[in-house]
Symmetry: C2
């Protein structure tokens, strides 16, 4: 089933909700040539590449996944060639600095491009996604020497990156990392240890792999404060930049997974033959701090994967629902009709569409905040947008991925019996999406981050600032006064109040009843996603009402989707607030033995 | 991972919520030897068989599914032997009449036994499940001759049954069935046509397969009123009961499915070599009516599959959560603890447990209503219980299966990265559960049935009768007066009111705004499941408070689970009522072209 990038919706969101015109005005982006007219050009180009080159690989790659033989991973047919084109066309470097070969454009634009490659193939896109995170970590913390040696080849797509964090005993809790880094006289380190779940930890799509590895030096303190970050290339790099000997890092197995099968998930053994040569990134013992840079980029990116797979599953379901003729129309058609005319099929498609559009709008809004944080000429705006972005990252990650499982599951359901047959392809999305709430920090980790660092730590100030922005939109809805605006206003007000009550409860009780409050962390994350997503959809409605005459078909659909979201998805907010405020005790009552 | 049948919870539900003592007092069951002490004996025996014989086959069978070669399906190793034991021990015949070799016991007892075999292996259990439906259809509609010829061998497990309904163009809409049945001079028929998605339509676990096939006679009216039901044995049966020639029905392919892989799903070709010999069941053109008997049994059974796979996924997740040590306790433990101590893990496990226990209680309650409908000596009670059972069937099917997908998905999530690795086994439940909302009538079909035939047709009378029963429980909660009872009362009252408002809205508007009302059919089904499930859990709490001293550990857990359900799951009811009452219009706004 072909994928058609939703360029129109992406541009609408970028222009009307995320403030593209302001973003491209920031000096560094303007210098790089960004303007509002560049975005459609880039998006069209990206759409073409992903629709034509990557998307057709998605289903065959699932049936013929990457395989391991004698330590060598052979990726699925077509990935190598597609990745070469991806790099050559400059897609790896959209946001990265021109001095290293990138384009230096806003994250807002790059986000749309990445959404497309994820929709085209989650398995494929993981390779550039992880490489992107590795580039960002090197740019943040590595010495100019390391940057010059590694970053340009990663941006060009000649080499890829990997993130080597997890160990068998250290998953969500990285303080338990045990890999060792022993300093050598020449300033390098010898790295020893086992890393698991390493996405594209071994493959044949690039000439070299730049592993970023967490390890402990011999006299490092215990826990998170004793972890350092190292570059460990698969092949050593000579002084002139050419490739040298094989480093002592080897893939010993790849996982047999539920989904994203074409993406090799490696177990890597470092140092079994004398020690892998590693280069310290930044300072010793600050590794986790650097890794967080990479992880925040990756968390946002995984959120985009959720939106991307939801979009793909939605398109597929719509196509099937238009094609499949079965049963009469409920209102009494003379003969059977396409199932898209059945109200419950519409309910499923609208749910898929509503979640996807709302999550996209919120993620792009967050990307614009990231751009403002990094490139706005106004210091106060930079600071404010940092708080906005940091609040939104766990929501973009957690909410978009949780909804993607539901959306992919609905995609199967729309197909009926056909959905359960693998060849149909709907089941692949259901399998693929299932990893998204797990890797790069489970939803629980995102929810803990949102409640602890992002809400309680500032006494709920950032959360309240969002509530105030929503109230402004409520005023705009009231002034608009259309039936749609009024219907949304009613639900948005109730949901915003539920959000505010939850924030008050959480801030007031986090110290005295930590387990009770954190029992509601998932509900709080979901509530935030719903209310902020609905807020973006309400803003979308207001913009669509203004712009309607230019493209009635598109804008009417946007208006209807905004109202559907408010009336059919958003009302869950109040149930979630009850869980948060009243449900903590009963969640924690059972002892481990009583389960 | 071993399965341990939750016999204690099953017996609690049977005795305290479903009225086992009354059920076994009905004359026909009493004559068959049923009494309250028989239930634990049977359940323990069933537990032993399923735990020891069937459950260990579940994971290997997924990895080594049934295969087709030259029209012969070889089932996964172990299934044949296990099915032989299943039949020999009498498990196929628990509810069926003694005159045909069954035990003649209540459905309430059989339901617990079937839950166990489904938990042990959904793929395996489908074979007896479909056979059960076929037996029921034959007992309802077939001539004594056909019954005598086929039923005893099916009850003994020597032969199995299949339900051949679906054709490529006739899935949810059976009026479009095109298979033909041509009468022969000797009173038999020649059957021609293609049937798809036939569970255990071909296999090597029994000596013969008794296909029940929907087809049209030459001069049958169009649509549902022209469908007849036929017995088409795989091997013809001689007058003396011995097996004769191969009939003209052949398996041409089996599906490559997302889950329940060990269960062969066949495409069957009837009559490609001159016509398959079929025997009319009952009267011509009444086939759909008979098939509904079978389908209602099968729908209830699929609901049990949902509960069963949820139970299995829950047990697995609990075990992992107890074993996996990671991160400190939030309240500040000296070192890392098992993840079961993390509030969000408890939230997931409690959600899994809450849904499973509530759905079990509701299904067993429904089974008891079935028994009263068929065996109560009181005519008014029979009639009343028929309405109760018929109202509950789509809820047991739709709610239990929808929740099973969520529960299986949470099971994966509790396992973190391990959950995504196939060898762990959690992913199998996630894959297997995905069919349950589709086959034997999708959730949309159940929801349409619930709203149309079960709610609107009697003007909401049955629904209101449930509301009154819930109000009685609310009074009991108020009299109890414990903190737990009061907390549940608050939520149950709000949810019951949401249910009542929804019923009023649906009944009032079903004629004038059919598409708007049916847009809320899924929400209504889910609302019914939540409020009726919570009602059973409230009744469970009241019973548990009385019985607590006898087994504090078990009953305290029941009380906590009831309260968790009320505070953390039930509040969704109000959001669903908003969807039903206010959300219909926006669900239907988009035209097919706008998607």
């Amino acid at each position: 089933m072909p994928y058609v990038a939703p360029v129109k919706d992406m541009l609408f969101v970028m222009n009307e909700l995320a403030g593209l015109s302001e973003v491209v005005s920031y000096p560094s982006y303007a210098e790089a040539g960004a303007d509002v007219d560049l975005a459609p050009a880039i998006l069209e180009e990206s759409a073409k590449f992903n629709q034509d080159v990557v998307a057709p690989l998605n289903w065959p790659s699932d049936q013929n996944p990457s395989s391991l033989k004698d330590g060598v991973v052979t990726t699925t047919p077509g990935f190598k060639e597609a990745f070469k084109q991806f790099g050559a066309a400059g897609w790896q470097g959209v946001v990265h600095p021109a001095e290293f070969g990138g384009q230096g454009l806003p994250k807002l634009i790059a986000t749309a491009c990445f959404e497309m490659v994820h929709s085209a193939s989650l398995s494929f896109a993981l390779c550039p996604m992880l490489t992107d995170g590795a580039i960002e970590a090197l740019l943040t913390a590595a010495s100019p020497e390391l940057q010059e040696r590694y970053v340009p080849k990663m941006i060009s797509g000649e080499w890829t990156g990997s993130m080597c964090l997890t160990e068998p005993q250290a998953g969500s809790d990285l303080s338990m990392v045990r890999s060792r880094a022993v300093p050598e006289a020449n300033g390098t380190y010898k790295i020893f240890g086992t890393k698991i779940y390493i996405t594209y930890g071994e493959h044949d799509m690039a000439k070299n792999i730049v592993h970023l590895v967490l390890a402990r030096t011999p006299d490092a303190p215990e826990g998170v404060k004793g972890i350092s970050l190292f570059v460990v290339p698969k092949l050593l790099v000579n002084a002139d930049g050419s490739l040298g000997e094989r480093n002592d890092v080897h893939c010993v197995s790849i996982e047999h997974k539920l989904g994203i099968k074409a993406s090799p998930t490696a177990v890597l053994q470092f140092g079994d033959h004398g020690g892998a040569i590693g280069y310290l990134v930044g300072e010793e013992n600050r590794g986790l701090e650097y890794m967080f840079v990479m992880m925040n980029a990756a968390r946002f990116a995984v959120g985009m994967q959720g939106i991307a797979v939801a979009e793909r599953a939605y398109q597929k379901a719509v196509q099937y629902a238009k094609d499949r003729v079965q049963s009469r129309d409920l209102a009494g058609s003379p003969g059977p009709v396409a199932i898209i005319h059945q109200p419950d099929v519409k309910r499923m498609l609208m749910t898929m569409r509503g979640y996807t559009e709302a999550a996209r709008a919120l993620a792009y809004y967050a990307a614009a905040a990231y751009d403002a944080q990094h490139a706005s000429p106004d210091e106060a705006a930079r600071k404010q947008n940092q708080a906005v972005y940091e609040f939104l990252v766990p929501i973009v990650k957690g909410f978009s991925t949780e909804m993607s499982i539901e959306v992919a599951s609905l995609g199967v359901q729309v197909h009926g019996g056909m959905g359960f047959i693998e060849e149909t392809g709907a089941a692949q999305h259901y399998r693929d999406a299932r990893i998204l709430t797990i890797y790069e920090g489970t939803t629980a980790i995102q929810a803990n981050d949102l409640i602890g660092r992002k809400t309680v730590r500032d006494g709920g100030a950032t959360a309240r600032a969002f509530a105030e922005k929503i109230m402004q939109t409520e005023k705009d809805l009231a002034s608009s006064g259309t039936a749609d605006a009024k219907a949304i206003l009613k639900q948005l007000t109730a949901a915003r109040e539920a959000f505010e009550s939850s924030v008050v409860y959480i801030v007031a009780n986090a110290k005295t009843d930590i387990k009770g409050v954190y029992a509601g962390s998932f509900a709080y994350l979901r509530l935030c996603g719903l209310v902020l997503g609905a807020w973006q959809m309400a803003r979308a409605l207001l913009a669509a009402q203004e712009l309607r005459a230019g493209d009635p078909n598109f804008f009417d659909a946007k208006i209807a989707t905004a109202r559907f979201f408010a009336e059919n998805l958003l009302p869950q907010s109040q149930a979630l607030a009850i869980s948060i405020i009243e449900g903590g005790q009963s969640t924690n009552t059972l002892t481990a033995e009583q389960f």
